[in-house]
């Protein structure tokens, strides 16, 4: 899985490309934590290129959301497709994320 990093103003946008599954979950969680710490929490997860997640990927997402929540924020996620959103709804994890339609909206939320 390739994880692209973009800047949107002062906001770091991580854009994983490909399914978020067990083989990538650890690296994904590490990159997410690293980018969040470096950008002082100004982090957006662009999920538009994640077609689906497995349980390990879901765990990584939940852990990341929990880490961010400890710092007074919700993990901002944008562009999640129907599949991902349905998985998050079914597992009752959707409430742990702040959902945006696209990166611009998510970045503007830091204003």
């Amino acid at each position: 899985m390739e994880i692209r990093e973009q800047r949107h103003g002062a906001v770091t946008v991580l854009r994983p490309v490909g399914p978020l599954v067990a083989t990538d979950a650890k690296d994904f969680a590490h990159r997410l934590a690293q980018a969040g710490a470096r950008s002082l929490g100004r982090l957006v997860l662009d999920a538009s290129a994640i077609p689906f997640v497995d349980s390990a990927g879901l765990t990584a997402l939940a852990d990341a959301a929990q880490d961010v929540a400890q710092n007074g924020q919700l993990l901002r996620v944008c562009g999640a497709n129907e599949t991902l959103r349905e998985v998050l709804d079914l597992t009752e994890l959707a409430a742990h994320f702040e959902h945006f339609q696209d990166v611009s909206d998510a970045a503007r939320s830091f204003l």
Partner: protein
């Protein structure tokens, strides 16, 4: 009133009342079996006495019947001495009150009491007479039996035996022993019942008293507790009270922590509330040591939250203005509140943080430092300023040209058709340029506002690329640039907004031709799969510096390269192109090398289930 006095008032009457009740119950419990035992004893004694009397009476009768013939024989043969010896021995041997031989005329021939003998020798004959009652036999406590017998040729006589009703001690011993044993067993049983009842009722009575005291409002564990020596019930009651007390203490501690000590440690409600803040919050004491920090503060200061309490503020914040501010606010003579903004650069990451310090206690005992991340706001402010500057500049340039050529037209164009034609042509070009710019700005504004709508329909990609080729063939030829389209034999039909997709492709291809010097080349390569379309626009142009490549998609941003200063452009084209592609669920990325050229890669999902298009339609 002191607490012990209150306890005495509330607990003593309860204890007394409880004991009185217990004693009454115990008395009732004891009296019933005791009376039963006494009645049983009396009944047993009377029964034993009757039995003994019957046995005694039978024994006397048998003795009398046995002795009478012998006495008759002895009288007949004048063996008076032997008769009297027999009578005395019989009386002694059988514990008789009296044993006597009485002639029918009433004279006593032999008696166990010699003083009662009235005739020394038996007469030859004697007549029957109404014998008076034998003396010594009128005692109602005596059992008597008289056996009449004949003395041949002399007359008749009677053998009288008398014995006391109450048996002698040796005879009563078995019955008395049995009765005593029964009484002893009953007494021991009663004692055991008494002790058992006491052991059961004492803690219950005490618990009852404690419950009544609790109902009256007593809450002290010392007053409500009972002696643990009173058994397991007492221990269970005391354990219950101890649990209640512990629970109350925990509740008190919890409330205390929530109301007063919550900011130090622990997982209190206030701490959890502080952790939900976006802003960092640090509480420092008068020595500027951190007493509490929330999660956002840890993130903004790039440290771990558990490592913050106890550390000096100077260890966490190196910026001198912040430390000066904190010292000033902590000083009682200093200002009560203040704020500073600091620019921080950590590992190429630039942040703008505002530290606001407020003295939270009159004596400067502790101060609160609020940290706000203004980075994104500053970036947005800068972008807005740049937007205004660029927009003003870009709008002014064509307007200036239009005004200039209108003046020329007014002055010289009326007489010179060539000048007039040139002026009208320039005015026309600049007006179109102005229109494009305004349209681009409107599009950007719509995207920013989220109101840009995609007019989704089937898009024939082969037609799109044919149109693109036709549009730029002439321009490329003019600049002597080789323009090539590498298309697959068959291109899919996708869902999307044709005009906006075409606008994005126009921007990429137009830029490639614009920034490629004469003699260069521009290649458009299309790769189409079942789910994805990738368009690569490569040129051999001037290239983009890495620091510019990261920002060229920002509104009005133009690279700092001097070579492009004279090339017209609004800085909106790439912004629009990428936003439009993102609305379709795709993206545009760039790879470039200075003086070697650039490659813009446009990726677009061809499946209608992809994300962006759905979102756009939903919006």
């Amino acid at each position: 009133m002191s607490q012990p006095a209150l306890q005495a008032r509330t607990s003593r009457p309860t204890a007394l009342g409880s004991r009185r009740s217990v004693l009454l119950v115990l008395a009732a419990l004891l009296a019933a079996p005791l009376l039963s035992v006494v009645a049983f004893g009396l009944w047993g004694m009377s029964l034993a006495k009757a039995t003994l009397m019957e046995q005694r009476r039978d024994a006397l009768a048998a003795l009398s019947e046995t002795l009478a013939p012998t006495a008759g024989v002895l009288i007949e043969h004048d063996e008076v001495t032997r008769l009297r010896t027999l009578v005395a021995a019989t009386a002694r041997e059988h514990d008789l009150a009296r044993c006597a031989v009485i002639l029918s005329d009433g004279r006593v021939l032999a008696d166990s009491d010699p003083n009662r003998i009235t005739v020394q020798q038996p007469p030859a004959t004697w007549q029957d007479a109404a014998a008076p009652r034998a003396p010594g036999t009128d005692d109602p406590e005596l059992l008597t039996h008289s056996t009449r017998f004949d003395v041949p040729e002399h007359g008749t006589a009677s053998l009288l035996v008398a014995a006391h009703l109450v048996p002698s001690a040796p005879q009563a011993w078995p019955a008395m022993g049995l009765l005593g044993a029964i009484s002893l067993v009953a007494a021991v049983g009663l004692l055991a019942i008494h002790r058992w009842a006491i052991s059961i009722l004492r803690p219950l009575g005490a618990i009852q008293g404690a419950l009544r005291a609790r109902a009256r409002g007593e809450t002290s564990l010392a007053a409500l507790g009972i002696s643990p020596r009173w058994g397991p019930e007492a221990a269970a009651w005391n354990a219950f009270l101890a649990d209640q007390e512990a629970l109350n203490l925990r509740l008190l501690d919890h409330r205390h922590a929530e109301t007063s000590g919550a900011l130090r440690t622990g997982d209190s409600m206030i701490e959890r509330a502080c952790d939900t803040l976006n802003q960092g919050l640090i509480v420092v004491d008068s020595l500027l040591k951190v007493r509490y920090a929330n999660g956002a503060a840890a993130v903004l200061l790039q440290t771990k939250k558990p490592q913050m309490p106890g550390r000096a503020l100077a260890d966490l914040v190196k910026d001198e203005p912040v430390l000066s501010l904190a010292k000033s606010v902590a000083d009682k003579a200093g200002r009560r509140r203040g704020s500073v903004e600091v620019d921080r650069h950590v590992k190429d990451e630039r942040s703008v943080l505002r530290f606001s310090a407020t003295r939270a206690s009159q004596d400067g005992g502790f101060i609160c430092v609020l940290i706000e991340d203004l980075t994104q706001q500053r970036v947005a402010d800068k972008a807005r300023d740049a937007f205004v500057t660029h927009a003003t500049h870009e709008l002014r340039t064509p307007l200036t040209n239009i005004l200039l050529y209108i003046e020329t037209l007014q002055e010289d164009g009326q007489n010179d058709p060539a000048v007039r034609g040139k002026c009208i042509n320039v005015i026309n070009q600049e007006t179109r340029r102005l229109e494009r710019m305004v349209n681009d700005m409107l599009s950007v504004s719509e995207i920013e506002a989220g109101s840009l709508k995609l007019m989704t329909d089937d898009v024939r990609l082969d037609a799109v690329f044919e149109e693109l080729r036709a549009d730029y063939e002439h321009a490329a030829a003019e600049k002597k640039i080789t323009l090539t389209f590498d298309l697959p034999p068959k291109l899919p039909v996708i869902r999307g907004d044709r005009d906006k997709l075409l606008m994005a492709l126009h921007n990429l291809v137009g830029n490639a031709i614009k920034y490629t010097p004469a003699g260069g080349s521009v290649a458009i390569k299309i790769e189409a799969s079942e789910s994805n379309l990738v368009v690569r626009v490569s040129d051999t142009g001037i290239g983009i510096a890495p620091e510019d490549a990261a920002r060229i998609f920002e509104k009005f941003y133009r690279a700092k390269d001097r070579r492009i200063a004279k090339i017209p452009g609004t800085g909106l084209g790439l912004t629009l192109a990428r936003e439009v592609i993102r609305l379709h669920g795709g993206d545009i990325t760039v790879e470039s090398q200075m003086d070697r050229g650039s490659t813009f890669t446009l990726s677009l999902p061809t499946s209608p289930s992809a994300t962006g298009a759905n979102f756009a339609r939903a919006a």
